[in-house]
Symmetry: C2
């Protein structure tokens, strides 16, 4: 139980241990879209190579290979690197349910809000060494699975995300990992597939005439097109900036909006606020900006107010609560899409942030965008990204453009418009189903409460639509439970504590976007708690 208690620090991010052993889906690299569509010569070559290696290569690799330098010329299908210091837990440990936790920064930051103590000092010692794993990994079957997966990786197979789950697994809904959407994209076939030849987009530069000189013009085009289609944000008169996820754009906005001053700019947001806001603001102890806590209790005139709407974690629709000539707002509209809420108006704030992670579910692609009115702010945000990462992956920009194009095409082009290809239809149906299941489970349990359901007229779908947030803001009403996250963790459900959002630890945030198998187990398990 010590291991389980350590999960109290669970937040975003990192996973340690032999976790992947629990899951061996067929290598997606070896499956074509839809399971059967044609593939490129490169993909075919890889299949052949993987097949050819079956006899003596990585299939025979030990789970924890010993340091041994493979000879030159041993070919494309080499073993997973020998001597790699992965330090995976030995198999006997894998019989334990031990899970993760790393955004230690997030966890430990909350107590230091408005404190002079540098949060950085508290990050590192807090990082637990736990791991997420599965009972299946304990036996020889787990070993075989791991070996099979390593073989697939050595053959160039891409990763598949978190391990698959069984009814006995720890269910990790701590992160908003949007794998729910995989099912949808498996149904879109070649429309969302991208092919990148070896010589393409090798330059640092994408559009030398643009303020955001590393923005792929095709992505700029599709971002504007999609916003016009959905009607959720104004684009005329705005600059489009691309970032490595919206997190980088959030930092870029802080940098751009923090003028030279003796004291760092105060960064605030109304509680409950997204747990990353304080962590990302403070982790480098910048002299330019500093987390200053709950906007509703802030008393200064000069500030950056972060307005997340629909809000992470509780799904509420928000407006800025502060108003001052020397204050500015950054609107995080990551969840302002029809699958989550009614589109009631075309947002036209000075800085608006979006991301494919939540709009289409492509978190691994790490593409966010900002719509920015002011040219100078746009230029300074661009400068931040230039200094931080010298631009943003063009491969992912091109992929994001392709994915957004597929979304718009399904609504705008009759030939592409079969209903199963309409992302927002799929997403809204799916989210409504999940919320219905969750409300039933909470009712069956009797010890949990959820925010009331709200609805509004959606200008995109032209009908009344209920709100189906991407996170459930769940409250445990049992009087003897003061820490809901710990309580749920005791039942092998990982969530994020309300305390990390500047709120009551009787609340937790639960991701509603995981795969069906994990979500179904979660709901059943929740219903059984009394």
């Amino acid at each position: 139980m010590t291991a389980l208690r350590r999960l109290g620090t669970a937040v975003d991010g990192n996973f340690q241990g032999p976790a992947a052993g629990g899951m061996v889906p067929p290598s997606p690299r070896l499956l074509a879209p839809n399971g059967s569509a044609p593939r490129s010569p490169a993909a075919s070559r890889r299949e052949e190579a993987a097949a050819a290696s079956g006899g003596g290569g990585p299939g025979l690799a030990p789970l924890r290979p010993t340091p041994a330098k493979p000879p030159l010329g041993s070919g494309k299908i080499q073993k997973r690197a020998g001597g790699k210091p992965r330090k995976r837990a030995p198999l006997w440990q894998a019989a334990l349910f031990v899970s993760v936790a790393i955004h230690a920064g997030l966890f430990v930051l909350h107590p230091y809000v408005n404190s002079a103590a540098p949060p950085h000092r508290h990050h590192h010692p807090q990082e637990p060494q736990a791991c997420l794993t599965h009972p299946e990994a304990a036996g020889s079957d787990g070993g075989r699975r791991r070996a099979t997966q390593e073989k697939a990786w050595a053959a160039g197979a891409p990763s598949t995300g978190k391990p698959a789950v069984t009814p006995e697994s720890v269910i990790n809904l701590d992160h908003g990992d949007p794998t729910m959407f995989e099912e949808f994209w498996r149904g879109t076939g070649a429309a969302a597939e991208i092919v990148i030849p070896g010589w393409q987009t090798m330059s640092y530069f994408s559009d030398v005439g643009n303020v955001c000189w590393f923005l792929e013009p095709g992505l700029d085009h599709e971002v504007r097109r999609l916003h016009r289609l959905v009607g959720n944000a104004a684009v005329d008169g705005y600059h489009v900036l691309v970032g490595t996820g919206s997190t980088q754009l959030f930092m870029a906005a802080l940098y751009a909006l923090s003028p030279p001053a003796a004291a760092p700019m105060s960064v605030v947001s109304t509680a409950p606020y997204y747990s990353s806001y304080p962590a990302v603001t403070d982790f480098l102890q910048s002299g330019l900006f500093r987390w200053a806590g709950d906007a509703s209790s802030f008393t200064g005139d000069t500030y950056i107010e972060l307005v997340c709407s629909p809000n992470n974690p509780d799904g509420t629709i928000r407006e800025a609560v502060l108003s001052s000539a020397s204050g500015v707002a950054v609107h995080d509209l990551a969840y302002y899409w029809p699958q989550y809420t009614a589109i009631t108006k075309r947002a036209d704030h000075d800085i608006m942030l979006f991301t494919v992670s939540k709009s289409t579910g492509h978190a691994g692609t790490r593409i966010g965008w900002a719509l920015v009115k002011d040219r100078d702010v746009a230029r300074k945000m661009t400068k931040f990204i230039e200094l931080n990462t010298i631009g943003v992956s063009k491969d992912s920009q091109l992929r994001a453009a392709t994915v957004l194009r597929a979304v718009s095409d399904a609504y705008e082009l009759p030939a592409a418009g079969e209903e199963h290809r309409r992302l927002f239809d799929y997403g809204r149906r799916k989210m409504a189903e999940r919320w219905s299941m969750l409300r039933e489970a909470a009712a069956a349990s009797g010890i949990f409460s959820l925010p009331d359901e709200t609805s509004g007229y959606c200008n995109f779908t032209k009908d009344m639509a209920s709100t189906n947030p991407a996170f459930a803001w769940l409250r445990c009403d049992r009087e003897d439970v003061e820490d809901c996250a710990s309580f749920l963790r005791g039942h092998k459900i990982l969530t994020r504590s309300g305390s990390q959002f500047g709120a009551d630890p009787r609340y937790v945030r639960v991701s509603m976007l995981d795969r069906d198998d994990a979500y179904d187990i979660f709901v059943k398990r929740l219903a059984s708690l009394k």
Copy 2:
């Protein structure tokens, strides 16, 4: 000439203006690898769409479209967004040679080394509004070209980097944009092509059992394999970490190596040092670390020493110059590859940084990697990237893995090993040619000097190899020229001033990695200067 003088601030990064009008290569999206190889259904669809749009779509779009919201349902091939606030320079301005400049941070930071003045205050006002353009863009031809390019972008074509050049163009060799390598990769066909279906790698997570939980295992595998092949760095006993370019990993290392302390950690490097080091260290005014200038004059005991070898800008082979129990070194080995220098030993430092930008030329992919011995340091670096960008583009990781695999395959697999597919053979031949041309040009001119040629026994190629740095560290010997960058700019050659590297402004850094056309014009122009 005012515009030209403003170019004095030219450093890395940004380009403004209608530049792209000067170049209209065929859309690479519409060319298969090798110009004829097979393509995916998605690619074919895009070709058809692009062809179908020829009559009435973006081909008719005005160069500077007026604000007009396209109707819904206008389909996939829409015009470049109406009302977009690009503020491109009007065409008459395009007749001027006006170039770029943005890493203003880099430019202005140098004077503040070891100064208490926060460098941030000086970034923004210094950013020039200049643009890089071409005389060709001034006329109607330029307008047509821009319109054609916008049409291609609207159809999903990827960008093509900096505009093509003519003998009259401003030649921009300020950045190390490695487009020289495009030629090589056009010759590798499907071996380096990647196909990504819409549903792939959507999760935040790549390998939940790894310290670097967002690292694609296939990239880890290929990184280790390539280092074993080349023999330039030890990998056994090292963690592989991935970053959004090595710049992000550099910041991650500063974060990981700066312990809690009353004063920020001092960051130093021997002059001439890479101009980004001070800029990236100081732009957020972190309380954790602070640029402290030239390592050779540093007197403290506690520091992070940045060791770039071969060195950017001057190509010298370097070792750490400081030694102290409480000092640490970060080795930037971006250029330690056989095309640039003899591989004389297997580097085995505690932290070593690499990037595909310089090893294979894929700068737009934004993938760097670190080899890190210590597990705690690896974990803290991972934490930085988690807080900064929540991981690294999986699409680019998969592409980088594919590209590295193609490099290794060409040497290790007989079938793939035709000589034209051997990257390092190509790179060394090309670099040797260019250095020979440059030395001839400098000799013909009579007013420039270059570092002496050196050579060494290369363990990879098993022969003596001369050093062919990726940058030329060029000195102008004319007594009346105190600022070589300004002098060359007067002759429409953009370079980076020695002053930005902590060195004499009689020196400039010149990129040796641009495309043939630009390089050839540069060399001819240089030879003509007296």
